[in-house]
Amino acid sequence: MSGRDGASPTDRADRHFRDALDANYRRTSRLFLALMIVQWIFAIVVALLWSPYAWVGKVRSIHVHVYAAVVLGGAISSLPIFLTLTRPAAAVTRMVVAAAQSLWSGLLVHLTGGRIETHFHVFVSLAFLAFYRDWKILVPATVVTASDHLMRGIFWPESVYGTMTAEWWRFLEHVFWVAFEDFVLVLACVRGVAETRELASRQAETEAMTAREREKSVALEAANEELSASRDALAQLAEVGELAASIGHDLRNPLGAVRNAATYVAKRGRDPELPKGALATDARFNACLGIMEKELETCSRIIADLLDFARWRKPDLHACPLGPLVDDAIALTPPRANVRLENEVPAELPVPMLDKDQFRQVLINLIQNGSEAIPGDRDGIVRVSASGGDDAPFLVSISDNGVGMADTRKIFQPLFTTKTKGTGLGLAIVAGMVTRHGGRIRVESETGKGSTFHIELPQAQADAAPAS
């Protein structure tokens, strides 16, 4: 299986392995960078404290150790410092560092007067070098140590073995112990590299598993969405079924009235004995025609509501001044003699972005709702006001002083109505349109005192609104 970047787990493991080694090389090079500087400073301090001067009688001169610490120590550290700074992960850097560290052992042994304790520097240095986890660099370190001993053993045998008659091969005794530590460190390096490779493989496997899990998760999410869509479709079907039953019920009453009226109208219209012009004066005939017209209007409204609810469309937003739109809505709302409709939208209100037709329908529904909530036996008023814009959201309020509602929790659900002749779709249509405008709608109502619908439209809608 390949990961998202197309690499196979093997490739990924190789890459992690190389990255881990590279990071370790860089980390260890930083350690030796510091060590090269510290050793140099340490050597100078040792030389100055331990052997600052050489003497010839009363005459003193700077001791060779001081020059060795400053010049030779600086020379030994110079190239490793340069390479650890510029090529910290390069093989040549590790090789040079290893050789330099062995040279440092030799120099420190000289500077401290050959103290046996200083010889531990050789072994500690080898252990430090093993931090690179590259067994090959132990070779130059050992070669430098061995060659230092071999060279001094041949030319100045006393400086190494304590006897003028040392055999040339005696350096092997010293090298043996170094080689012994090398053997242990080679094992440690090889094991370290193997563990690094294993970790890289595990990391690659984990990533592959994570990728598989992610793919499963995506598939699961898609399945969930599909399921959710199916569930929504089922719910919608159920809603449609319920709606159909409700609509059927709502349509049956007016159609029944129309049928009764039509029966009478047909019967009278087909009566051969009816004198010409008698129908015009037949009060019942005319009442039946009125019933048919009124009830068919009711049917038409029910069908229109149903279509508005069922065939919603995305709002087509344009800059649309609110005040004139409220005037339009008021003009299109069926008037009632005892109800006054007032447009209180301030003229200076910024222009919001609206779908003119949809929002007019929202206003008509809410104004008509408010109007119908006012009992016929007293006067009432429906007010439309608005505020906000600029830096704040728009707030449009439609309030009435009608009968109010005791329970407003379900009023935006389809098919819920508190009116005797409502379809229960009006407020559901309103809520859908407001939501599709990116806004929110809520209601405050108190029984006997009236209701207020608050529509909040996002201020962003108005920002880009050029006046139209």
Partner: protein
């Protein structure tokens, strides 16, 4: 564990201009030459002994250094400020601890002509005072050094119970370098009963300025050498 070592080379994405121009190999070669040369020069310096000395074959009777019949006598001539002699002193301490009462030991600190008592205020003097069984001798003008024919700090002389010179030389393997040495081994053998006299090179500072003729020019001062007991010395 893997069957074969698995060292991995990291390929750098881009090579540095230094490497591209071939300067890196040149720099490495120059570095190797520089540090090798420096190391060899330092080793040569450390292995450079002082001038050969001619010591009296019989114990000089006018010496202030203590000697006891029936015992070997060890005398070290030392420059009190010579840092290299610290290694010789450490080896002398080991020698004394190993001869176990079969020899008496003293160290003669040269005080060049014209120098005051403050000349003795040195780490070497203080270190020597802590060595059990070692007698310290202040040698204004280097009278004792001249008497024993020593030129180099750290020079050790071993006289047998009969007062004859058995060993003359150094007891370190190199200048200021602790550890086993041919001189130390010879002294131990002699005190142990070996009859073959021996010598060894001496590594250390020169005890006094050489005269134009090359010979030390110690100038005895009034009062002459004074000895003082070391730690544990009655």
């Amino acid at each position: 564990m893997a069957a074969t070592p698995a060292a991995v080379e990291i390929e750098l994405p881009t090579r540095t201009p230094l490497a591209r121009r071939g300067l890196l190999p040149a720099a490495i070669i120059a570095w190797v030459a520089l540090v090798s040369g420096g190391t060899i020069a330092l080793a040569r310096y450390k292995a450079q002994p002082g001038p050969a000395a001619v010591s009296p074959p019989a114990w000089p009777t006018d010496s202030v250094a203590p000697r006891r019949d029936g015992l070997h006598t060890l005398v070290m001539l030392a420059h009190p400020r010579c840092p290299c002699t610290m290694a010789s002193l450490a080896e002398l301490e080991r020698l004394i601890s190993r001869v176990d009462g079969r020899a008496i030991a003293s160290i003669v600190f040269i005080r060049p002509a014209g120098s005051g008592d403050e000349w003795r205020e040195s780490d070497l003097w203080r270190r020597a005072q802590q060595i059990p069984g070692l007698r310290l001798i202040d040698d204004p003008g280097g009278v004792e050094a001249k008497r024993f024919g020593a030129y180099t700090s750290g020079h050790v002389l071993l006289y047998g119970p009969d007062g004859h010179l058995r060993f003359s030389g150094g007891i370190t393997a190199a200048r200021g370098h602790e550890g086993e040495s041919a001189g130390e081994a010879r002294i131990l053998a002699l005190i142990g009963g070996d009859e073959a006299a021996g010598d060894a090179p001496v590594f250390g500072c020169e005890l006094d300025d050489p005269s134009p003729t090359g010979a030390p020019r110690f100038e005895p001062e009034a009062g002459g050498p004074r000895s003082s007991p070391g730690a544990g010395e009655p």
